[in-house]
Symmetry: C2
Subunit: 364 residues, 2 copies
Amino acid sequence: MAAKKLLILPGDGIGVEVMAQVRRIIDWMARKRKIEFEITEGLIGGSSYDVHGTPLSDETLAAAMAADAVLLGAVGGPKWDDLPFDVKPERGLLKIRKEMGLFANLRPATVLEALADASTLKNEVVAGLDIMILRELTGGLYFGQPRGIDTLPDGTRKGYNTLVYTTPEIQRIGRVAFDLARKRNKKLCSVDKANVLECTVLWREEMIKLQKEEFPDVELSHMYVDNAAMQLVRNPKQFDVMVTENMFGDILSDCAAMLTGSLGMLPSASLGEADAQGRRKALYEPVHGSAPDIAGKDMANPLATIMSFAMCLRYSFDMAAEADLIENAVKNVLKGGLRTADIMQPGKAKVSTTVMGEAVVREL
Amino acid sequence: MAAKKLLILPGDGIGVEVMAQVRRIIDWMARKRKIEFEITEGLIGGSSYDVHGTPLSDETLAAAMAADAVLLGAVGGPKWDDLPFDVKPERGLLKIRKEMGLFANLRPATVLEALADASTLKNEVVAGLDIMILRELTGGLYFGQPRGIDTLPDGTRKGYNTLVYTTPEIQRIGRVAFDLARKRNKKLCSVDKANVLECTVLWREEMIKLQKEEFPDVELSHMYVDNAAMQLVRNPKQFDVMVTENMFGDILSDCAAMLTGSLGMLPSASLGEADAQGRRKALYEPVHGSAPDIAGKDMANPLATIMSFAMCLRYSFDMAAEADLIENAVKNVLKGGLRTADIMQPGKAKVSTTVMGEAVVREL
Ligand SMILES: CC(C)[C@H](C(=O)O)[C@@H](O)C(=O)O
Ligand SMILES: CC(C)[C@H](C(=O)O)[C@@H](O)C(=O)O
């Protein structure tokens, strides 16, 4: 079997530290499970801007396009806050998503037994929570044209962005959503604002058509985005798979992530269209950000990035057994009582990024 | 003093029942506090469509424009779900907001002591919560042009809406926000997505300018909308006044409302621009919807609409004393143990809409 080409982009802030721990897991997999990885490393975000004057260089993008999968840490930080809009660290992230065609962003929100008390929600509301939010990632307000800021003849200024989706864009994310639902509880909730926005009227119509024509075995429901935000807080366990457009998905998936109380635990996968061999371009990254306030202090939680690597094994390399291995190792380390600062609880042992990474390797 | 012109629009579903209770409070105010009200009643939403074929007739709109304040119940229900987009009940609500120029939507999220346990969040996270979300209500994605669904030459369809704000629109909502913050804790958090959307880059720039030039005594902070959704769940008490654009405000204010656990308690005010006498067009409505599932059963909670009337007294008629009277009566009734079904707790007395309304009048 050909070596698996992995591009590692640690990015900024704690991205660097947490990725160092993932490297140890990868090494373990290579040694103990004889998986051949061909690893390259690159810059993205502020650290790329510092070297190349752009948050995503052509070299990094070319490496990403050539890779079987990309592992990303996080981007951004106050150091780059005052950069012009076009070269901010975030532009690197948005550009790599767009250029790689990563339209399907899978964001699981799960509550591990050992961490149910970390949530600000009552234990019975979130214990055992396991939902999957599928966010469209390359369309909508984020990329719609026209966009910009104009100065009108009378001197007032006008800022504008465009929320736009075409039927093929809706169908391809819809198919991923129904597929996910089919592999889980066969319940899909599509979130829109069809009582106000024509764009999401089209979204709803296409979801209904897809269900009828291709996925009659999956139960489809619809919810307005404001109600979805409420229902996530009121009773998140009513959901299984949710699918929504880019901006709504950004907001709702962060809300859902926070329900778990342990952002430092949540991975995500961003997938492109399947080619003739059924392979998809893919990028894996933790849901948390670059946390500049604790960067460089060996305090960050590496588990979300480690779990992102597990998702990579599962979705890009069809190695469910190895993914399970990692996920179970993480669960056991937590059961054993180790905690990084962000998920610290009374009576547990507070450990550093490095010690947490070592513990997972040992558990493997 | 001239009689206060009040237009009452019960709307659909439970709107009718809860408004009947508000009428009793109004009667009490007229009798006991010698306030002269000139009351007219009108149709809006589905009930207007059934009679006039439109969710907002010209007569109702004219009455609203002539009124000192409008009290609204709620609109919508499954009966009208399959109507064409342009005559759905919601269009009536959006049109009255737009035509009356109600750009400032005040949505307090407060947790009354007696109800802190109703929340799905842990008591210590929400007890004493008192935040004010100010939502821009007549701009942004809701009203931006162009909008629609087009069929392209190749048969694919494209749905689109426009997120757009001009500097005067941002400034007027900004001034209301800073004013509110000045009367509270002098802390304003402006929510945007300035790392992605140019429209909200302009929003942020204008907020910064306003603070420097007109409100140097108010502390201004900025937060991305995804982080705001997280922070509302993680630690809502960090906020005092939040201001944001229409669509974000729709989502965040519903999320904040649900934090309180008692949607049936939350009022809202929508205000227009001040005229030469400093008077603003105004509409008051509960945050909850028309709840068709319990409509007509004398089960709905009338307190949000009663509290909306209190807001009306406070903001439109400068009658803070009378508003306090109502708010205290509501608190006392809850302390006394009465609960409608939606806020029922063990050991309390479950009462109907009518009994709850009577209890508030008795308490007054
Ligand atoms: C950093 C930012 C551009 C990004 C987004 O909005 O997509 C982030 O919030 C995310 O959710 O991955
Ligand atoms: C009914 C709907 C059009 C409305 C809105 O989105 O503004 C409602 O959700 C609200 O928040 O008042």
